[in-house]
């Protein structure tokens, strides 16, 4: 089992950390994952409408789940980021105490950081880096409708009302943005 970690040196740093947890219950790897992901999971949950305390608690639960489920992580199928994102998302969906979330929708635009240098991460993260790059290439108005659909899951009619746009414009923006992202990702898979 422990040998499999060495076999996976091609995986990116974050994936290697999860593999090390699975193989050796490696606390140092866990601390590194926690330092990177817990603040981002908290940020994601707050943007989705959780208050700071609830987001902190759920971020803790999400990282605890990473520790427990590390053995089921398959780096060939998903990157660490995608895997941890789905864990956090599912915890959020299952959360019962979300009465306040709709009233706390935050209206900040994406904080998309510059694309990393080539070679910094390998294999699976290429997809995510490309997604990030693609999002940067999309016009801001298309990213905005994607953001509203993705994080707040509002019907197109509500997005149109919120942005004071005709419904047709919202629909075509979403279709355009989805089409471009999908094309890019399908080319990669």
């Amino acid at each position: 089992m422990s040998g499999s970690v060495q076999d996976h040196t091609g995986w990116d740093e974050n994936s290697r950390c999860i593999l090390a947890i699975a193989a050796n219950a490696d606390r140092e790897s866990f601390a590194r994952l926690f330092a990177f992901f817990a603040p981002r999971v908290k940020s994601y949950l707050m943007r989705s409408g959780a208050d700071a305390a609830e987001a902190e608690e759920l971020a803790q639960e999400a990282l605890l789940a990473v520790w427990r489920k590390a053995a089921s992580f398959d780096p060939a199928r998903a990157t660490a980021s995608t895997w941890i994102f789905t864990i956090a998302r599912n915890l959020w969906i299952d959360g019962i105490r979300r009465a306040k979330r709709r009233s706390q929708m935050v209206d900040t635009s994406w904080d998309i950081e510059p694309v990393e240098q080539p070679g910094e991460r390998l294999i699976a993260t290429d997809t995510e880096r490309s997604v990030t790059a693609a999002l940067k290439m999309l016009p801001p108005d298309q990213v905005e409708v994607i953001r509203l659909s993705f994080f707040e899951g509002r019907p197109h009619a509500e997005i149109a009302e919120r942005l004071s746009l005709p419904l047709g414009t919202v629909k075509s923006r979403i279709r355009l943005a989805c089409g471009r992202l999908r094309k890019l990702l399908e080319d990669l898979v």
Partner: protein
């Protein structure tokens, strides 16, 4: 199983990003179980989610967050207790099983079993209503929904689903907004909550 009706893009995106309330997400998840095409689409959007997560500006964690989680690593996993719910008769030819009721969100998940020819009780115009067909067939307007199909109604959509075909229909419904169901079924449904 030939699946003809899928979740809309807005519903799929809402699920992928975690914006869909739990009971509604449960119905979408049932469709994903049987629909490869939607699952592929979901996995694509989850990659987008992963990229978003990675690029997100970090929020500050409380100062002892790491110590607290280290203290919890050995905790036993608590499995949520399974709730038993009983099927109830709510009107001629219709049986109802409550599965989840989130009072804070005003959302519900329930199973309906209805005889052929029955008109299904719906939640009117106060929110989204997602239906997954397990067995039998539902007709809504000129559309037919069979096992595996996904039926989506929102506040702007007038719909009157009824059980078509010769057999009884079992479906799972996730809805938001208070029930506004006319007739005896609505009365009984309200009485049970």
């Amino acid at each position: 199983m030939i699946i003809q009706h899928h979740p809309s893009e807005e519903t799929l995106l809402g699920y992928a990003g975690g914006a869909l309330p739990g009971p509604l997400a449960s119905v979408v998840a049932m469709h994903f179980e049987v629909c490869l095409a939607c699952r592929a689409e979901l996995s694509l959007w989850e990659k987008v989610g992963g990229a978003f997560l990675e690029a997100m500006a970090p929020a500050e964690m409380t100062s002892n967050a790491l110590e607290r989680i280290f203290a919890r690593l050995g905790e036993p996993v608590r499995e949520p207790a399974e709730k038993k719910s009983r099927e109830r008769w709510i009107g001629p030819g219709i049986w109802y099983t409550p599965l989840v009721h989130d009072k804070d969100q005003g959302t519900r998940l329930y199973r309906l079993r209805a005889r052929a020819g029955t008109k299904l009780p719906t939640h009117g115009h106060d929110g989204r209503e997602l239906t997954y067909v397990l067995t039998g067939e539902i007709a809504d307007g000129d559309r037919r929904y069979g096992p595996g199909d996904f039926l989506e109604a929102d506040a702007t959509h007038e719909h009157e689903p009824r059980v078509s075909g010769d057999t009884e229909c079992v479906c799972v419904i996730g809805s938001e907004g208070p029930p506004r169901i006319p007739g005896i079924a609505g009365l009984l449904l309200r009485a049970f909550f």
